[in-house]
Symmetry: C2
Subunit: 535 residues, 2 copies
């Protein structure tokens, strides 16, 4: 699985903010560049005012770290932009820098994660791990955001409807589009329209025709070739004339004036059917859905049926999708019964048209006959919250825990090298992420553990977990991958499993119950001590 | 100037929706693939409820077109995903496809453009120009959106404040971040924090330090080296002790208790100053701005001053930015007067902290002492409207004008090969984009011309333009670039010129006056005829 990074020519080592280099020089000149340091990557609030996020982007971060190194051209560019007083020896040092002393622990990619709990823990020489900040954030933020957004669409749509990502033209350029396709799949989408994403990541691709195809035809004379051989292998028949015959029957049945049914649209359908007889799907809203698109579709599909082929669906791209899907299903049932074609009543109906989380919920409530939903803009741009605010904070340097104190409690970091335990209740749901210092003994199943909830520093609570899981695994040890990396399909599966185990109260899209994130007594004491010592 | 496409390994030819290929096969099998066709790329509404957009992305589209071609691996992938009945000869044909018969006219990159007026006109064989749709949209939509967003920030900030883009970590992955940096620059930003964007596009880069740098220090003992040589070249001095001496004076002057001024923060500033004596800038809000950050900064800056160096600024990243900037400026003035250091009162103040269009307007109204503003999330993700809805519509095929008729007037396309004339008034403002059929004589300066405003089809109007400009230029003729392409700096300059000529009424960010977009009588008649002929 290639990282977008991997697809960019050369290394991504310069894809970072300039201040990382000025700081690096500061550390280097002070002789602090090799001090052991630890950063944590986390977000402060779950996106979309929801109760969870899916952590994503790990594989791409690891791919980036494995090739992290400055080229000669990179160094020359840096020499041109850093202050002229910058010592040459610093650039010589940068030439030797790589991630061979960097270690990364992470929740498995696709895991459900919560606010203020580290997704990644990154250890290594201060200079190197500081330089990684922006690139890691860039690789994790959007990946996790769009995976979470996709998961929300999946939660609303339910497990049975097919979901297709089709946002390429609305994404932030080529790579934004590829990331959107990849992480929407992780979050629970079935298909993408993006062919390159299909090729690079093995995501199933789908697609039919656009309105431009339909409107490019004006009459049946333009259809060529006109003949179609029945599935049985008999002599080819003149397909347009069969369709015309079926159209009369359909129009009579549906009481639609045949002369108002658009013949350019019919020509487009006939042409497409002759081209893809096993895969005929009609885009039915170029003109009028019920008086042109659907009669044309039925005529073509019934003519195909006569030759032994089954149409695979219709697509609707405008108007009231739920209402129209119900009306279309009714027509399919009428045709099915009248013409004795049983499969006709269950022809899949696909819809698109600026589907948002909000109108997907409306659709779900109204009752509809929709089988597949295409989502573009509202999936890939995440308009409810177009960025995930992951941050990357120093928690330890040279053996000493560090924190950032601010007046805003939420922005205060939790100091020190930590282990995160996910506590599970007897019903089989995770209910608390408990951060502990590395040196503490782990909480044990069935044993009481004291905790201090984040943001409620006044009082301790007590919990007895039914089982205890360590959230992070070590993926990179001294620059070497030390854990088998899952395929994209496995990541997707893990995300769905992880979500399925989360209590519905935390999965509610509006006003979810907040998942508990807490510290042990020892960690709480360390935080309090450090806060007291700072001005 | 490399296209993001150019930075992706291999061609972007597959970066498109699958239905483009099913349609391509449909056209090919019907023998229509070489029919001459024309598409137009435009948006239906100006973004952000504004009155204009900047058209951007042309250079990248041209770079994409020049390399447009399917590799053997691309073809093999397509064979694996198209229906099994797809003829082998079609894939052989795809192997020969490129943009050598494609022509593109466009408004110069960076031009002010308006709704429903084509940004691009794309002509060529039907199959090829259809295949280009998604990629062109992907390259234009975000580029134009973020350039327009940047232009709005520039309009609010006014011409004097420096604007810096710093959104890399919030963009849609690496390439989203690079596009954001590039097109924010086009839209009127001065700097970027993104080093790779600096290297690839020549955009000036800026940056100082992060909070993690400041909080990584605990005491002045950690400062190393401690000595700094005066600008004059005299003997190096022990810098930390100079700073301590200045701190006492500053604290007395500002009536701040010296023991509460954070010594870790001071160590970080001292270390940075020794490292970059000509470029010292203080990030003053890691602890308390007025009781720690500013006293520390002043002590270090005054100690530097003694050695002949001038600090270059402070940066604030939290709290009430306008109010704090005023308080900080007051301190600088006090120090300037008291210590007789004239330049001290005008030390630049830079701010960041989730700056949005809305709070930039607030800042602008409140009165402030800010010199430079860093914008990240709200610039690159365009939360007010995170996607530009450009579409790509067939307007002519095989010599016949085409339109898409819908019940929604705004979604009806304007048929036929057109020339767009921009009409200017006597005051030197453009006031109407007039679309005409190619074969019509152009409107002439000083001569009356009849027009029909889009969306008001009931009545014609008359105008007498003071001057007339043809909006589009031919950039690609039969696959060859036929117009010198401007550099990024020239595009930026054109954008600023184009915007400066637009009437303030259309530039208002809220409730702008709508710019007039109209058709000639002949084009209006064609549209009416075609609408009448469709069901």
């Amino acid at each position: 699985m290639g990282a977008p990074g991997g697809r960019l020519r050369g290394s991504l080592a310069l894809l970072t903010d300039l201040y990382q280099f000025t700081m690096a020089y500061g550390y280097w000149r002070a002789g602090r560049h090799r001090e052991p340091a630890e950063f944590e990557l986390f977000f402060r609030r779950c996106p979309f005012q929801g109760g969870f996020a899916l952590g994503a982007g790990l594989s791409e971060c690891l791919a980036f770290l494995r090739t992290f190194r400055f080229s000669q051209a990179d160094i020359e560019y840096l020499e041109s932009v850093l202050p002229i007083t910058t010592e040459k020896a610093f650039f010589d040092y940068l030439r030797t820098v790589d991630a061979s002393e960097v270690s990364v622990s992470s929740a498995p990619e696709g895991s459900v994660v919560f606010s203020r709990v580290p997704i990644f823990q990154v250890k290594g020489p201060l200079l190197v791990v500081q330089l990684l900040e922006t690139t890691l954030l860039c690789l994790v933020n959007y990946a996790s955001l769009v995976a979470t957004n996709a998961a929300r669409f999946r939660l609303i749509a339910g497990p049975d409807k097919k979901l297709m990502e089709m946002g390429l033209r609305r994404a932030q350029g080529p790579d934004g589009g590829l990331s959107a396709s990849k992480y929407s799949y992780v979050g629970g989408f079935d298909f993408t329209s993006n062919v390159l994403a299909g090729k690079l990541y093995g995501i199933p691709v789908r697609g039919t025709v656009a309105h431009s195809y339909v409107s490019s035809f004006t009459s049946l004379d333009e259809v060529n070739p006109r003949v179609l051989r029945p599935v049985s292998g008999e002599e080819p028949v003149d397909f347009p004339s069969r369709v015309e015959a079926w159209l009369s029957k359909v129009c009579r049945l549906l009481q639609v004036p045949a002369e108002r049914v658009h013949c350019g649209e019919r020509a487009a359908f006939v042409s497409y059917a002759v081209t893809f007889p096993h895969n005929f799907q009609g885009l039915v809203d170029t003109y009028c859905v019920m008086r042109s698109g659907i009669p044309n579709f039925c005529a073509v599909a019934l003519a195909l049926n006569e030759l032994g082929y089954r149409a695979i669906g219709v697509r609707l791209d405008s108007g009231d999708l739920a209402r129209q899907s119900v009306e279309i299903r009714q027509v399919f049932r009428t045709c099915s019964a009248h013409f004795h074609v049983p499969w006709f009543e269950s022809i899949p109906i696909a819809v698109s048209n600026d589907v948002s989380e909000w109108n997907l919920e409306e659709l779900a409530q109204e009752g509809n006959e929709i089988d597949m939903i295409g989502v573009g803009t509202h999936l890939v741009t995440c308009p409810l919250q177009p960025s995930l605010g992951c941050v990357y904070k120093l928690v330890k340097v040279n053996g000493c825990p560090r924190l950032k104190v601010t007046e805003d409690e939420e922005k205060t970091t939790i100091p020190g090298s930590k282990v995160v335990y996910r506590l599970w209740d007897a019903a089989g749901f995770p209910y608390m992420d408990l951060m502990a210092l590395e040196e503490e003994p782990p909480p044990r199943a069935g044993k009481e553990v004291e905790f201090w909830l984040l943001g409620r520093n006044k009082e301790a609570g007590k919990a007895v977990p039914a089982s205890v899981e360590i959230l992070h695994r070590l993926y990179l040890k001294d620059g070497q991958i030390c854990q088998a990396l899952p395929s994209l399909t496995e990541i997707k599966k893990h995300a769905q499993t992880s979500l399925s185990k989360l209590s519905p109260a935390h999965k509610r899209l509006q006003d979810p119950e907040a998942y508990q994130v807490a510290m042990t007594q020892k960690l709480h004491a360390l935080l309090t001590d450090l806060q007291r010592d700072s001005p």
